[in-house]
Every structure is written in structure tokens, then in C-alpha cells.
């Protein structure tokens, strides 16, 4: 039963090539789900678009630049404020969003003048900001606007600004993954190497694929500071635009999210001979490995052990408390792609949980190679899953918790199954030692919440505990 066709997919049998159930003794040379290909018509995909991958995931995190969306205003709103990546400059990047606000007349006559006007107006309104990202959208790409030419013109006119253009119309590629790719390769081509950093340590790294979700970057930065390592740039958590221009001066690229940012690590290796070291920064045991490997690269093994000892002393007992209560709980991971392979063994080894189903929105086959190698026998692995498939999975297995985004999260809540926000977290950070405990705490709170037993009760029933808890008179309810 390696490749599986869900009953709900009988009319779209191509979906069978996207669903795999691992059996004993199998490896990825025998079966590997198709992925990063076009969604099959008839399957209601949960995927995002290329523009979303560029703006919401990577570019929008940068803390000191204007984020100009060249397109209708809705594209700006829909990627604003939906993901919590704070910054230490009062969350500038979360507070504002900018749009060229293209209308029908711009589609007919061209929107380049409108873009130029919007860019200059934005710089005027925020005179302290001198850096800008410009994103194309479906509309402005289709009408053939040349935003790069517009931006070069503005740079010449204003003199002290620097603008980066991402060509990421929503229709490009098959999912948000294409936007990750465009931003990575574009930044490498246009901006890396255009500025020199101040070097303060002989140990320098880039932390790639960490977006400071609820403070993840702060946690990693704390460990690295204690080890005496200078981070040239986090790509892109809590980072300044100009720090990212200096990435060529790092001695090592430490990669967490290889899906959204592996491209720039590969290019930095190819062009500047900077080695790429992939690590897991989620997971109590994984972060030990990550710090030890970074320490070994620089000959800072003792420093790494000091950090590990200090953090383990603080958090090991707390994690053990949650492990006692979470072991044996069945969990599904339905997120973007990489968190499947980052989390599956971490949840099993650190907390004794069982990951029974995993679904990826935009993972490539590389991600499925990783997750199938790490995942359990009997687990269901799904590419580009749809809602009907999720219902069928939940009918066939009893899951105690789903790690997923708010959209699917609301879906499973209606089935009275708790969910934890796997994209932007409930109460993070989730990275590092303290993050592993935070994640365990959120999962514990979700699974053991009394809300679930109350949610299943009908308030119109006289002996419903909902009313007795609220001190209501059941007879009143009966009359209603």
C-alpha cells in the first residue's frame, strides 16, 4: 500500500502519486511522492502564490525598509500582519504596508507612472527609511510593466535610496515556493557583495532560513553571542536591508529552512566558496547538535558545550514534565514543507509523541526524501493536500493534535480537534531549548483544554454541563 488513493480522490486518480504510506523496509528509491508540480484540477489546493512566498515569507520580515506592492491594494492587505515576525525597532515592518494601488485605468494605460509616484510618496512620508523592496503581482506583470527601470530612475533622482525589485507575480511557478526562489536568486544577483560589513569577530556566519517567528532569531542570536560568533545577517529574521548586502563576508552559512532559503546558501557556496551547513534549530536535542556542529567548525567546542549546559539546566526539567503528559499523543503536521522533517523526529524523540500524518503545501521532492527518511512506518505523507483528504485522514486515524495554519486550523477545530499554529506559532518562540518547551507547553494546553469536552455539548440539552458551569437555570433553556 505504498502510494495511496483516498476515496475522495476517486475522480482525480492522479492524486495517488502525491500520497505515500511508509512500510517497513522501504526507502525513497522505491516510492517518492510527486511534488512541486501543478495542482491537479479538481483538488482544492491549500497552496499560496509566488508573490506570497516572496513577500510574506522572506522579504516582509526585513525590518528597515518600505515594502511596496505593485498591484491592486488587496495583494498588500492579504500579506500584511498575518505572520508574527517581530523586530527590535518597534516592529516597523509589521505596522505598515505600501501599495501602488493600481486601478483599471493603469491596466489599460500602464502602471509605471503610478509606481514611480507611489515610491516617491512613500520615501517622502518615511524620510528616515532609505531602503525599499518592490514586488510585482499578477496584474502588473501581465501588463508588462518594467519596475526595475522605474526603480533605477528613482534611485538616480533621489540619490540616497536603494531599491530591490522582486519579479514574483502570483501566477509564476506552482506555489509560494517559486517566490522563495525568485527572491533568493534575485537578491544574490543584485545585492550580495554591494556593501562591506564591519567585522567584529573572527567567527562570522549567516543564519539562513530563520524568520524570527515570535522571536526565534533572538533565541539563536543569544546562543551565538555567547559563543563569540558574529552573525553577518539572518536571512531574514530581525535583519536590516544592508546587512543582507554583506552576506558574502560570512565564513559559514548555517541553514535552517532549506526550502525557502537553500538557494542563496547554494549560490554563496558556488560564488564565494562559503560552506553550507544544514541544521535543525527546532527540537531540544537537535539544537544541541546544531550548536556542536557550529562550534566544531570554528574550534569553539567548549563554548558550545557551555551554552548547552546552561540551557539544558534551565529547561530540561520543564520539558520532562510535558513529555510525561504528551507521550503517546498522536499528532499531524500539515504545514508548508520543511517543518515536516524538522519536527517529526524532534516530537518523537524529545516528547514521545507519534506523528501519524504529514502534509506539505509547497515542499519539493527533496523535502519528501528528508521526511520519509526521518518519519515513522505507517505514517501518511501527503503533497499538496486538500480538505477532503484531511477529513479522510482524520476519519481513519485518531489525532490528538494538528500542527497547521489558521485556515486548516479552523477546519479541524470544527471537528473538535485542537490545533497549534505551525506557521506563526501560538506562543513562541519555538526554536532552541526554550522554544522546545514553549511548543510542548502550547501542545499540552491545546490537548488538555477542557474547552474540547464543552464544545461537544449541545447547549439546548437540559443537563448540559455548559449551563451548570455558567450558573444558568436549565428550565429557561428548555423553554428556548
Amino acid at each position: 500500500m505504498p502510494l495511496k488513493l483516498f476515496c475522495c480522490d476517486e475522480c482525480i486518480p492522479e492524486r495517488q502519486n502525491h500520497v505515500y504510506v511508509k512500510e517497513e523496509g522501504e526507502d525513497t528509491t522505491q516510492f517518492l511522492p510527486l511534488s512541486n508540480i501543478e495542482t491537479i484540477p479538481g483538488s482544492l489546493s491549500e497552496r499560496g502564490c509566488s508573490y506570497c512566498g516572496a513577500k510574506l515569507v522572506i522579504g516582509g520580515v526585513i525590518k528597515d525598509c518600505i515594502q511596496m506592492i505593485h498591484g491592486p491594494v488587496g495583494c498588500a492587505y492579504d500579506t500584511w500582519h498575518t505572520k508574527r515576525y517581530p523586530s527590535d525597532n518597534d516592529n516597523f515592518q509589521l505596522k505598515y504596508i505600501w501599495s501602488s494601488d493600481t486601478k483599471e485605468k493603469h491596466i489599460v494605460f500602464g502602471a509605471e507612472k503610478q509606481l514611480k509616484k507611489a515610491i516617491k510618496e512613500a520615501f517622502k512620508e518615511f524620510p528616515e527609511i532609505k531602503r525599499m523592496f518592490v514586488y510585482t503581482t499578477c496584474t502588473t506583470a501581465l501588463i508588462g510593466d518594467n519596475p526595475k527601470a522605474v526603480c533605477r530612475k528613482v534611485e538616480e533622482e533621489l540619490g540616497d535610496v536603494d531599491i530591490f525589485v522582486v519579479e514574483c507575480p502570483g501566477f509564476a511557478g506552482v506555489s509560494q515556493s517559486k517566490g522563495h526562489h525568485e527572491l533568493n536568486i534575485g537578491w544574490m544577483r543584485d545585492k550580495v557583495g554591494t556593501l562591506e560589513p564591519e567585522i567584529k569577530s573572527e567567527y562570522t556566519i549567516n543564519v539562513i532560513g530563520d524568520y524570527n517567528i515570535q522571536g526565534d532569531s533572538y533565541v539563536l542570536q543569544k546562543y551565538l553571542d555567547k559563543m563569540g560568533i558574529q552573525v553577518i545577517a539572518h536571512f531574514t529574521g530581525n535583519v536590516k536591508y544592508d546587512q543582507l548586502r554583506c552576506m558574502h563576508r560570512a565564513k559559514l552559512n548555517v541553514v535552517n529552512c532549506a526550502r525557502s532559503a537553500g538557494y542563496i546558501a547554494n549560490e554563496l557556496k558556488r560564488v564565494y566558496d562559503i560552506p553550507r551547513m544544514d541544521v535543525d534549530t527546532w527540537g531540544f536535542e537537535y539544537i544541541k547538535v546544531a550548536l556542536r556542529k557550529i562550534g566544531a567548525f570554528f574550534g569553539l567546542e567548549d563554548k558550545a558545550e557551555e551554552v548547552i549546559a546552561e540551557e539544558v539546566a534551565k529547561y530540561e526539567g520543564k520539558l520532562a514534565w510535558y513529555k510525561e503528559r504528551l507521550k503517546g499523543k498522536k499528532v499531524c503536521i500539515w504545514t508548508g514543507g520543511p517543518r515536516l522533517w524538522h519536527w517529526t523526529k524532534a516530537l518523537e524523540d524529545d516528547l514521545g509523541m507519534e506523528v501519524v500524518a504529514m502534509s506539505s503545501k509547497f515542499g519539493h521532492q527533496e523535502d519528501f526524501e528528508k521526511v520519509i527518511a526521518r518519519g515513522r512506518v505507517g505514517t501518511i505523507y501527503i503533497d499538496d493536500g486538500n480538505e477532503l483528504e484531511f477529513f479522510e485522514v482524520l476519519d481513519s486515524i485518531h489525532a490528538d493534535l494538528i500542527l497547521t495554519g489558521p485556515r486548516v486550523g479552523d477546519l479541524v477545530k470544527k471537528l473538535h480537534i485542537p490545533y497549534i499554529n505551525g506557521h506563526a506559532y501560538h506562543n513562541g518562540p519555538y526554536m532552541g531549548f526554550e522554544g522546545a518547551v514553549n511548543m510542548a507547553r502550547d501542545m499540552y494546553n491545546a490537548i488538555y483544554s477542557p474547552m474540547w469536552s464543552l464544545a461537544g455539548k449541545d447547549p439546548r440539552v437540559v443537563d448540559s454541563p455548559m449551563w451548570s458551569l455558567a450558573g444558568k437555570d436549565p428550565s429557561v433553556v428548555q423553554e428556548l
Binding site: 566558496d273 526524501e369 528528508k370
Partner: protein, 112 residues
């Protein structure tokens, strides 16, 4: 030896991200570099780290060698040639799984 090769391969499959880099040439380079370095560490050979890549291979190899020693007590019973045979066998198995017979359609795309 065949069982030992499978045991180490299974450990690497489960633990190590370097075998799954984006392209076939990255995977080949990592498997050769890290496994060769792991053999040197297990055999107690002198290690000369010249290039940045050497240091990266060493970092991963050091962790892997420690994991093998911890989880596979039989490793201490192998002599130097036994370790080399093991390492070469694991290299072949990893290349088979992650490159030669990999079903990943992106492995040989010329650009990242």
C-alpha cells in the same frame, strides 16, 4: 560487514541533512567529503583542515563519528582496514539511495 553498512546507513538516513542537499553534485561532494573525514576520525588519523569545505566536512563528520561510537559498540572492534571498508560501503549505499536511484526529479537541474 553488510549488516554494519546498513546499520550506519540507516543512522545517517535518519539523522543527517547533508545527504539531501539540492543537487546530485552537492550530495556526491558531501558524501565523499564527510564520510572520508568520518573514517579518519574513527581511525584516529591526523586531520589537516585546509579549506572552508574541509572544516564543514569535519564538523559534520565529528558529530557522526561520535554518534556511531555511541550507538554501535562494535565499531571499536574494527581495525583500520575494517573501518575503511565500512566507510566505502556506506558511501556506495548513500550514493545509491540519494543520487543514483533517487526519484528526485530536480537533482540534475543545472541551476539552483
Amino acid at each position: 560487514m553488510k549488516e554494519k553498512i546498513e546499520e550506519v546507513t540507516a543512522l545517517i538516513q535518519e539523522q543527517c541533512l547533508w545527504q539531501f542537499f539540492s543537487r546530485s553534485w552537492d550530495r556526491e561532494e558531501n558524501i565523499e567529503g564527510i564520510m572520508t573525514m568520518t573514517g579518519k576520525i574513527l581511525n584516529g588519523d591526523k586531520i589537516n583542515l585546509v579549506t572552508p569545505a574541509d572544516k564543514a566536512f569535519y564538523s559534520d563528520a565529528k558529530f557522526l563519528a561520535a554518534d556511531i561510537k555511541k550507538k554501535m559498540p562494535w565499531i571499536s572492534e574494527l581495525d583500520k582496514s575494517g573501518v575503511l571498508e565500512l566507510i566505502e560501503g556506506v558511501k556506495k549505499r548513500l550514493l545509491y539511495i540519494t543520487v543514483k536511484k533517487s526519484r528526485n526529479c530536480e537533482l540534475n537541474l543545472s541551476n539552483y
